[in-house]
């Protein structure tokens, strides 16, 4: 068995085993949301990371795909049409692709800011039509459905959530493989070229508009798969599905995961879906924390989580990671102190702004009255301590990082790199970082 097949079997085994290990309905619905988010974020990165197009309206494609899928599902339910539910995401894909052709023809004529603005305009237009055309969009209530319409096929009715899980997992795997394969084709590479330097592409025989258009249409198709799956999973599609919040969320997930690596959006989708579900059950101010996370990432790790992983790969390979990790742990503990301070401040303010006068609040099992001095003192202390120690920790991290890089460079230089060795690349990375 080659290493590749081993990795794949492990991955598939994990995907199959997950709902058996985490069998609660909450866990499965969380994982279902993650699977849909993964496809959606990966499709978004086809245009953001790979083609360099910042879109503020990607939910238009997943949302319209979802609407078309749910209408088809309802036709199936009414007995007017025969179509297997398993293949319903394909309907979503075709529907979204249609709108990709329609809108993409307009949007992809330009790149950069113009593209971003037009995408925003189209998103607003579709969101507005969602309320103006209740026949198709179902108005405020949206369109609901029943996914258990088909005849049971080997016991598959899509009644129990675990069956939907396997449906989503299968589609996510398929779409992931296809989208990855696309990055290894001439069009995929040309998309990168258009991202890097659209003008030059014209002088090597290609029309950058056509490249952007094709990438957008293909990306819309995958977004449509995500939309079709969400129609099956939630059995309802509302105007929120095409709305700006959804478009913003996929941008956030993709960005936080990292646009530079193929697997970045997968991480982003998992992390953000998890945070959304878990944070929102802990605190009402979860959107604020979301914003803070996004802000921190943009400021300190603009390449996203995946770029951090890539940055550390040479150290990992050279077994030098151990020299940096202690400083990270230290910095992490300082950051947690600061975070506790921020969280305290946010929660207390939120409590005061929201609740009627009087009454105590509980935070992390502690019951206290936010109108007295001590809680504020604690918060101030945490903020001060965290802030100061984090500055100190930052210097320690920088020093450890510098020392490890020097060591890496020394080792690489002592072995003169041959032409194309991986070592040559690592030397390059190390030089880049210094």
């Amino acid at each position: 068995m080659t290493r590749k097949t081993l990795y794949w079997s492990v991955l598939i085994a994990i995907i199959v085993a997950l709902p058996l290990v985490f069998a609660s309905n909450t866990a499965i619905s969380l994982m279902n949301a993650m699977g849909i988010a993964i496809i959606f974020a990966l499709s978004y990165n086809m245009i953001l990371g790979q083609t360099g197009l910042l879109s503020f309206g990607h939910a238009v494609y997943s949302g319209l795909g979802a609407y078309i899928a749910i209408h088809v599902l309802n036709l199936v339910g009414a007995g007017k049409l025969w179509f297997p539910v398993t293949l319903l995401p394909l309907v979503g894909a075709l529907g979204a692709m249609f709108f990709g052709v329609l809108f993409g023809y307009v949007t992809t004529r330009r790149a950069g800011t113009t593209f971003a603005m037009i995408s925003l305009g189209i998103a607003e237009m579709v969101a507005a039509s969602a309320l103006m055309l209740p026949g198709f969009f179902g108005g405020e209530a949206g369109i609901s459905t029943n996914r258990t319409v088909g005849k049971a096929f080997f016991g598959i009715t899509y009644g129990p959530p675990i069956q939907v899980y396997y449906l989503i997992a299968g589609w996510a795997l398929l779409c992931g493989v296809l989208m990855y394969a696309l990055t290894r084709t001439p069009l995929g590479r040309l998309a990168n070229a258009v991202r890097d330097n659209a003008e030059r592409v014209e002088f090597i025989g290609y029309d950058p508009q056509r490249v952007r258009f094709l990438m957008l249409v293909l990306s819309a198709a995958f977004a449509g798969v995500a939309g079709g799956l969400s129609a099956i999973n939630y059995e309802i599609v509302t105007s929120e599905n095409v709305g700006p919040v959804r478009s913003g969320a996929v941008l956030l997930a993709t960005f936080i995961g990292g646009v530079g690596e193929f697997f970045g959006p997968i991480i982003g989708a998992i992390v953000l879906t998890f945070l959304e579900v878990s944070l929102s059950s802990f605190t009402k101010a979860w959107i604020l924390y979301f914003g803070l996370i996004f802000l921190t990432m943009v400021l300190y790790a603009p390449g996203g989580i995946s770029s951090l992983a890539v940055l550390h790969r040479p150290f990992w390979k050279a077994r030098l990671l151990g020299r940096i990790v202690p400083s990270y742990l230290f910095a992490l503990s300082c950051a947690l102190v600061l975070l506790a301070g921020i969280a305290g401040l946010v929660e207390i303010s939120y409590f005061l702004a929201e609740s009627s006068p009087g009454g105590a609040m509980t935070l992390l099992g502690l019951k206290f009255d936010p109108r007295t001095v001590p809680p504020w003192l604690v918060v101030a202390l945490l903020l001060g301590l965290g802030g100061v120690s984090l500055r100190w920790a930052k210097r320690r991290v920088a020093a450890a990082w510098h020392a490890a890089s020097q060591e890496l460079l020394r080792r690489v230089r002592s072995v003169e790199p041959t032409d194309r060795s991986a070592l040559g690349r690592e030397k390059f990375t190390a030089e880049q970082m210094l």
């Binding site: 040309l190 990168n192 003008e199 002088f203 490249v211 040559g424 690349r425």
Partner: protein
């Protein structure tokens, strides 16, 4: 046999300002032609007009006898005209190898394919490897183009331009900003990779021009004041007066 490039009374105006004021020029197939002239004479603009980076104000340009006026840059490229840029213009985040590979897809007929696997494109891959060795960047194969040194970038620029095997090649100041030895290497490279092709180049380095060119055109204030063999250009009094005098005197000293 029709000429490779035939420029017929071409004008280019930006608003009121006329940059190219009626240029006509014929470059035969297989000829190495240099365009020289003082700064601001319109040399790069002329290149932009031929490659359709800028639209013509009037006149016509023919490639192998067929008019290419009004075509887009990519259509002209597909007809076998490839150009380089004065300010290096590569794909900075792609590796050197990928830069070259991208310039090969169309010529090898892959169009906008998303069904071919890159690793299986033997023809493209082989050619990219060949070009990479030819331009001397074998050791930088997998490095992002954005971090190459200046001379390496210039070599890559030429590589991207010639990789697809275009029959007509336009090089815009290929040796600008290079040291003497880098320039010599580049001249050898250009000689090698453009063998048997039509070459038009804009160049400031007179050593390069007289070394490489079969014929030279002198462009001054948007007009060609002379077009002849290097020896005759050297002795042309109008050229000496307008442009060459000082530089030639130095070279002959």
């Amino acid at each position: 046999m029709s000429s490779a490039i035939h420029i017929v009374d071409v004008c280019k105006r930006f608003g009121q300002t006329e940059i190219i004021r009626g240029v006509s020029l014929e470059v035969a197939q297989g000829e190495r032609h240099a365009i020289i002239g003082p700064n601001g004479a319109g040399k790069s603009t002329l290149f932009h007009l031929i490659s359709a980076r800028l639209p013509l104000s009037s006149g016509d340009i023919r490639l192998n006898g067929e008019s290419i006026a009004g075509l887009t840059p990519y259509q002209i490229n597909r007809r076998g005209l490839s150009r380089s840029f004065q300010v290096t213009n590569v794909f900075p985040r792609l590796s050197v190898f990928e830069n070259l590979r991208c310039s090969l897809f169309w010529a090898h007929g892959y169009k906008y394919s998303f069904w071919h696997r890159l690793s299986r494109l033997d023809d493209v891959n082989q050619r990219a490897e060949e070009v990479i060795e030819r331009i001397g960047l074998g050791k930088r194969r997998d490095i992002p183009a954005g971090v190459l040194s200046y001379a390496e970038l210039r070599a890559l620029e030429i590589g991207i331009t010639i990789a697809s095997g275009a029959e007509v090649i336009l090089l815009d100041e290929p040796t600008a900003g290079m040291s003497r030895s880098e320039t010599d290497d580049t001249v050898e490279l250009i000689r090698k990779v453009t063998a048997g092709k039509t070459l038009v180049m804009v160049e400031h380095d007179m050593g390069v021009v007289f070394n490489l060119a079969d014929r030279i055109s002198v462009l001054v204030y948007g007009q060609i004041i002379a077009c002849d063999t290097p020896a005759k250009i050297r002795s042309n009094p109008a050229v000496q007066e307008a442009y060459l005098g000082t530089e030639l005197a130095i070279e002959h000293a």
